[in-house]
């Protein structure tokens, strides 16, 4: 194609108007006649034996339609999946338990379900369920939980549920060659997804006896898992996904769906269940806290020679996606650097804390905090600029990842993005207040887009050109607010030469739309974008070939622009698109198709030493910040925030900038204020008055610099940006704080309290 008409243009999204006018129907904006209200009874203790449960009083309460416990669930124990259809082996498949049975493993674990005529009655019924507990000691620290003889969270004889490793070279030799060695331990906390829309949905049984679940979910393929819980065939459960008010990985696991399905199956009535904010924070997944012990060695010129990392993560009370997250962390542990000698060991450990699972970044942001802090420390110690030390060590095209040895065949935008971000900071801000110190920080990083290649990922799309020149798309793509759905419309509009307004898309329905896979792993632009492009191009080819016949010109001389099939060298010679469609229809040429796009497939790696390709490709980025730190209050103000990524090709620059800005703020909260505090298994931050996220007034201007190398594997050379966008900012902020006041925070978040304490310690030590 010569020149883009719609792709690459900052056009308003397909769903923009419906969202700003409030017309869009989210999961909560829906009800059915005779609908029941569900509530979940949750464990009062983080670790306890369930001696008995008596539901008799609750069942007798007027208006209560069902009370369910573990014994009522046909298959209460299955395995956690996230939409994959290939076999990956036992190393990844953890226990998924619908309702607590015999033992509770975390405070807030679901023990019983109630459906009642009103929400008030359902709540009253919860109070009437008598659960007799015998408390158990529990274990709340992953390092403690790893020790022999530790309290056992689950039924196995160890709390360690996953171990991963990779290595290259010889670290003993590597460290022997080093002129400087830095060793340190960093800690990062639990954080919440904090989406505006909490987890929720409505389920009913349709005329054909199929359980329909209308729900905000990133993984509509969970219909299979819900069917397995009920013991139904997979085609008897249907997900209808809604536009989501945020996902961030929090709607990647099953949330309310199994509960809804069980209650609607039992009562034969529609049932509604939405988590309160408190439930969402207390009972649903969090980002993994990690304890990360690092040792890096470099030569005097800053060249890295060795890296040894031991990562321990808190999986909380159930595995969910912990093994996968830890695999990501392992692969990402050495960052975007060429290091000849590397060893990484990762342990994923059960505790009696709230379970952890997917959270935007999926194991990439945690090690990034450490390796980028250490690179900064090396730069300071060796008196090399933060940019220069990265220039000397970063990956470039053709080099391989220091953990797995995966070779980068596509363009690696390093050190390009780092240079651009650093330069964009411009002049250093002047500051007259002697207690306000200004400093700058840089961080670079990488994050995969697309799923692990041994999952054999695929996506599908259906496109149909109507006789009036309008288009219908069907794709199972869930949209969590990132513009996933609109992106597909843009691709079809570009390829078929029609305006966005002539496209109607049906999305996220397991019965009616071809399955497009999950909206996770920053995969939809790449996977469903390619599937859609493939489908659109098939139809385009048929149109062009028919038009070529009618115009008697060579097909490669034709283009479709503004609903006309045009002869490129003589634009006055054309056929209206509808005429060509008519001709196709008359000739019996199919103007519809459903296609599948497959990612590269690899075999399941040896988890103790992961080598070779594990991801299709990576996105590279850099973030630079300038901060002012008040040395009397410890308050950090972000003066400038630059985000620069090679996005390959920005199909909609507005959406890409939105991801980069939002990602920066997501990571800024991680760096400065966010922490779900769990003390002995009890959540101390159960609402937004305790769990603090940045408000609009706390957000600085974010300058987004888009590098468009065209080197991505997505349509038109696009790369994924959703998760990479949030995975680098935290250490950039920490490095800027160090630059400003000479204090390094190694335990997120960097609150004013910690900064003041560190400053005082520094003062007394001097």
């Amino acid at each position: 194609m010569s020149e883009f008409k719609i792709v690459g243009k900052p056009i308003p999204r397909d769903d923009a108007w419906a969202k700003v006018t409030g017309e869009l129907k989210y999961a909560d904006d829906f009800s059915l006649p005779g609908m029941l209200y569900a509530k979940v009874l949750r464990s009062k203790y983080p670790a306890a034996k369930i001696i008995s449960i008596n539901t008799a009083k609750a069942e007798k309460l007027n208006g209560v339609r069902a009370v369910l416990t573990a014994k009522d669930v046909p298959h209460n124990e299955t395995v956690t999946r996230f939409g994959q259809s290939s076999e990956v082996g036992k190393g990844f498949e953890g226990l998924y338990r619908v309702l607590a049975d015999k033992k509770v493993r975390f405070m807030g674990e679901a023990v019983a379900l109630v459906a009642a005529d009103t929400e008030e009655i359902a709540e009253k019924a919860l109070d009437l369920i008598e659960v007799n507990y015998e408390t158990l000691p529990g274990v709340f620290d992953p390092v403690e939980a790893m020790k022999p003889g530790a309290y056992l969270v689950g039924e196995n004889n160890s709390n360690i549920i996953g171990q991963f490793g990779c290595s290259q070279g010889d670290i003993i030799k590597g460290f022997a060659e080093a002129d400087i060695i830095i060793e340190d331990t960093y800690k990062v906390p639990f954080v919440d997804h904090a989406y505006l829309e909490t987890e929720g949905g409505i389920a009913w049984i349709d005329d054909y006896g199929v359980i329909n679940i209308r729900v905000g979910s990133q993984v509509i393929e969970h219909f299979r898992d819900v069917a397995d819980v009920l013991g139904l065939s997979h085609n008897k459960v249907r997900y209808i996904g809604t536009m989501m008010g945020g996902g961030f990985g929090g709607k990647e696991d099953i949330t309310v769906e199994a509960y809804l399905a069980l209650l609607t199956w039992k009562t034969k009535k529609p049932v509604r269940l939405f988590y309160t904010r408190e439930e969402s924070i207390l009972c649903h997944s969090k980002r993994h806290p990690f304890v990360m012990k690092y040792k890096v060695g470099a030569k005097k010129d800053g060249k890295l020679v060795a890296l040894n990392a031991e990562l321990i993560s808190d999986a909380g009370a159930y595995p969910y996606l912990s093994p996968w997250v830890n695999l990501y962390a392992t692969v990402n542990a050495a960052g975007p650097y060429c290091i000849p000698n590397v060893k990484v060991r990762t342990y994923c450990v059960l505790t009696n804390n709230t379970f952890t699972s997917a959270n935007r970044g999926f194991g990439a942001p945690q090690p990034n905090v450490v390796y980028e802090s250490l690179m900064d420390e090396l730069a300071h110690k060796l008196n090399i600029s933060p940019l220069e030390i990265r220039r000397r060590n970063c990956l470039t095209t053709g080099k391989s990842l220091s953990t797995t040895g995966q070779v980068f065949k596509t363009y690696v935008a390093l050190p390009e993005v780092a240079e651009k971000a650093w330069e964009a900071l411009g002049e250093l801000a002047k500051c007259e207040d002697k207690n306000r110190k200004v400093g700058r920080g840089l961080a670079i990083g990488l994050m995969s887009y697309g799923r692990m290649t041994f999952l054999h990922d695929s996506s599908r799309c259906y496109v149909r050109l109507e006789s009036d020149g309008s288009v219908l798309i069907r794709s199972g793509i869930p949209d969590l607010g990132g513009g996933q759905v609109s992106l597909l419309c843009q691709i079809v509009a570009e390829e078929l030469g029609i305006p966005m307004s002539k496209i109607k898309i049906y999305y996220s329905d397991t019965a009616l739309t071809p399955l497009a896979g999950t909206t996770t792993a920053t995969r939809q632009t790449y996977m469903s974008g390619n599937a859609t492009l493939k489908a659109a191009r098939k139809i385009r080819k048929r149109i062009i070939s028919k038009a070529a016949e009618l115009l008697n010109v060579n097909p490669d001389k034709l283009d479709i622009i503004e609903e006309k099939v045009i002869v490129k060298y003589n634009q006055s010679q054309y056929l209206p698109l509808v005429e060509v469609i008519k001709a196709c229809n008359t000739a019996g040429i199919e103007l519809f198709c459903e296609v599948q796009f497959n990612a590269p497939f690899t075999i399941v790696p040896d988890l103790s030493n992961i080598r070779g390709m594990t991801f299709p490709d990576f996105t590279f980025g850099a973030q630079a910040v300038e901060v002012a730190v008040d040395t009397e209050t410890g308050q950090v103000e972000i003066l400038k925030l630059i985000t620069c990524y090679d996005v390959g090709k920005a199909i909609n620059p507005l959406s890409v900038e939105g991801q980069m800005e939002g990602g920066s703020i997501y990571g800024m909260g991680y760096a400065l204020m966010e922490e779900v505090i769990i003390e002995k298994g009890i959540t101390m931050t159960p609402s937004f008055s305790e769990y603090i996220i940045p408000t609009a007034a706390d957000v600085p201007d974010v300058k987004a610099i888009l590098v468009e190398s065209g080197g991505g594997l997505g349509p038109y050379g696009a790369k994924g940006i959703g998760e990479p966008a949030c995975s680098i900012i935290a250490p950039a902020i920490l490095n800027a704080i160090y630059d400003a006041i000479g204090v390094r925070i190694k335990n997120l978040p960097a609150t004013p309290e910690k900064i003041i304490r560190a400053l005082k310690k520094e003062y007394f030590e001097k």
Binding site: V40, R42, G108, E119, E120, E123, K124, L126, T276, R277, E278, E279, L282, C283, E632, T633, G634, Q635, M673, I677, T683, M684, T685, P686, S687, S689, E690, I692, I693, P694, T695, A697, D698, T751, P752, E753, I756, R757
Partner: protein, 299 residues
């Protein structure tokens, strides 16, 4: 302990709701139900949240929102503000902005606009949170409260009104009808400072000062700190250091240090005692300088 899972955004409990149209009507109800579990509803931004989340219950709710007699703002002598006036109206009064900057700044620092459109000053006072933002400036400005009941009425200082966390001296049949702030003399200066975790937040620490200047001398002063004790406290020993003295930088630094020594902060979910003590010193210093400047003083 917070009941974690029961915030359903609806009030599950049963109660009787009254919305009297006159002050006399409200006082009648308060008198009649004084021995019952009765609560007064003004803005509801604290009360309703507590009823939904921590199981605070009420058998009778008396709304004072529809009583015209409580919706007045009188700026003739000092300030008199009726109990049903929302905070967002108070911050728009020119006299508040110009003459009572500490009060103005405290209201501007509170929550989000939507909350300030509902919340009232008497609500903030009667809620008696140690972190209540309007309380330090009201004490600094020597504000009084009018408490009315069928038995009669009385006027008390804000400083004497609050006795502990959530505790006040109000009687069960009394209604706080207005806040009275004395006229501010010329050459006075006030300031309010607050540190939260984010821009719209409950204070980790807040404080208000009000100074009266006579030439280079500080004739009188009040320093009030919030969120560092069971209630907002005056740092009287620090005030004594300033009173009657020629003001200079060194004295302000000394005073600020003293203020940080007389408080008794705690560790909680928002901050630590160590940090609050540190901040009390820094913020008192800043607030005194700001207020002295506003009083026309030089340093």
């Amino acid at each position: 302990m917070i009941r974690l899972t029961n915030n359903t955004k609806i009030l599950t409990q049963e109660f009787e709701y009254f919305a009297p149209k006159t002050l006399a009507g409200a006082l009648d109800l308060l008198y009649r139900y004084q021995d019952k579990n009765t609560r007064i509803l003004a803005g509801g931004t604290d009360l309703l949240v507590k009823m939904k989340t921590i199981g605070l219950d009420a058998d009778y709710l008396i709304s004072i929102k529809e009583i015209p007699e409580l919706k007045f703002i009188d700026t003739d002598a000092g300030l008199r503000i009726g109990a049903a006036v929302p905070l967002s109206h108070i911050e728009k009064i020119e006299k508040v902005r110009e003459k009572y900057p500490a009060l103005y700044e405290s209201i501007k620092s509170m929550a989000a606009i939507a909350i300030r459109n509902m919340a009232t000053m008497p609500g903030n006072i009667c809620n008696a949170s140690p972190a209540g933002d309007t309380i330090p400036p009201l004490i600094a400005y020597e504000a009084k409260l009018k408490l009315v009941s069928k038995r009669g009425e009385r006027t008390v200082l804000v400083e004497d009104f609050i006795t502990g966390v959530g505790k006040t001296i109000i009687k069960r049949d009394e209604l706080l009808t207005q806040v009275i702030i004395p006229e501010i003399s010329k050459n006075s200066g006030g300031a309010f400072l607050k540190k939260g975790r984010v821009k719209a937040d409950i204070a980790k620490i807040n404080l208000a000062v009000c100074l009266k200047r006579e030439g280079e001398i500080c004739k009188d002063c009040r320093i009030v700190l919030g969120s560092v004790f069971i209630k907002a406290v005056r740092a009287k020993k620090a005030e004594e250091l300033l009173r009657g003295q020629v003001i200079n930088n060194d004295l302000i630094i000394k005073t600020a240090k003293k203020a940080s020594e007389v408080i008794k902060p705690i560790d909680d979910i928002r901050s630590t005692a160590e940090y609050r003590t540190e901040l009390a010193r820094v913020m008192t210093e800043d607030a005194l300088k700001l207020a002295w400047g506003r009083a026309g003083g030089e340093l």
